[in-house]
Amino acid sequence: MRIRDYGEMNLQDLDVMREIGSIGTGHAATSLSNMLQKEVRITFPQIKILGYDEAVDSIGGDVEEVVGATLVKMDGEINGLMLFLFNLEFANTIFEKMMGVSYPSFEAFDDMAHSAITEIGNIIICSYVNAFTELVDLNISLSVPSSAVSMLGAILTVPIAEYGYETDKLMYCTADFVIEGKTYNDWLLMLPDIASLNNILKKLGVE
């Protein structure tokens, strides 16, 4: 393996991953737009190699802030995690459009809300993964989605703990959604493990 740690990625590697992220988030925005029947744009995707503390800073600072998250595990020729993080504002925008309801806080979520948000996360993640697997021509199977509402810091430690023996830093590929002109601060993270990252880059001819 050429890359043994995310920190070893060079500019070209980062560019390639940004391109993949761009295609993935583009497709995710399209499915969100179809679902909501609203105009959805995305901001230019960013690729960051961050440690835990930097990741928390980068997403907005407060480790104790309660956020929602949907997680899907990738298996097959690429192993890793897909994580979609969102705040209450984003969730309510979706709920209002889909079900005509909104919730004052995450604690007020009922089963319906949890189920709906898991499914939204799943659709967004799956369209992302489908788009980039088509591009790299690799076979990936996805797990059923799982969602959680918890402190931001605790959710971000999930991938860090999962890959904690391989690396202290992770690659975050993110883009914000812009729904009808309003930017929502959410995060769509693609977190391949190190072997899979090498696999992707090799497949795309980056040596």
Binding site: S143, M151, A154
Partner: protein, 149 residues
Amino acid sequence: MKLTRGQGEIITYALGSCIGIVFYDPVLKLGALLHIMLPVRQNKDDPNLLKYADTGLAETIRKMTAFGMLKSRAIVKIAGGAKMFSISGNASFGNIGERNAETVREILKREGFRIAAEDCGSNYARTMSLDVATGDVVIKTSGRPEKHL
């Protein structure tokens, strides 16, 4: 790991699958709070001792002992080890919290420390703080009342 004596408060935020471990000596009013992420340091070249339960606990116990903590007086409390996500059909995913908690209990037992109180497991994040003047350990979670261990 943070360590202090006399007065003040030590906090570790948003423990998910991680474990917070408090050591407190009520006579010296000496306290330490360790935050570990994984059970065992597998790569012996990793300089980050405090990330792992085995090396982190050894280091904390060594420091506390150097500051005068006696094993017979030590009050140990642990919290965290939640399972943040559960994927149906994949039971092994995300049980790192449980493994962390087991490893910490095992090491503490082997080292001869009794766990006075614990708040582990379930699926929510915790913020843990220790008031060094009183030895009071508070667990804060979102949407639930504060808990004193």
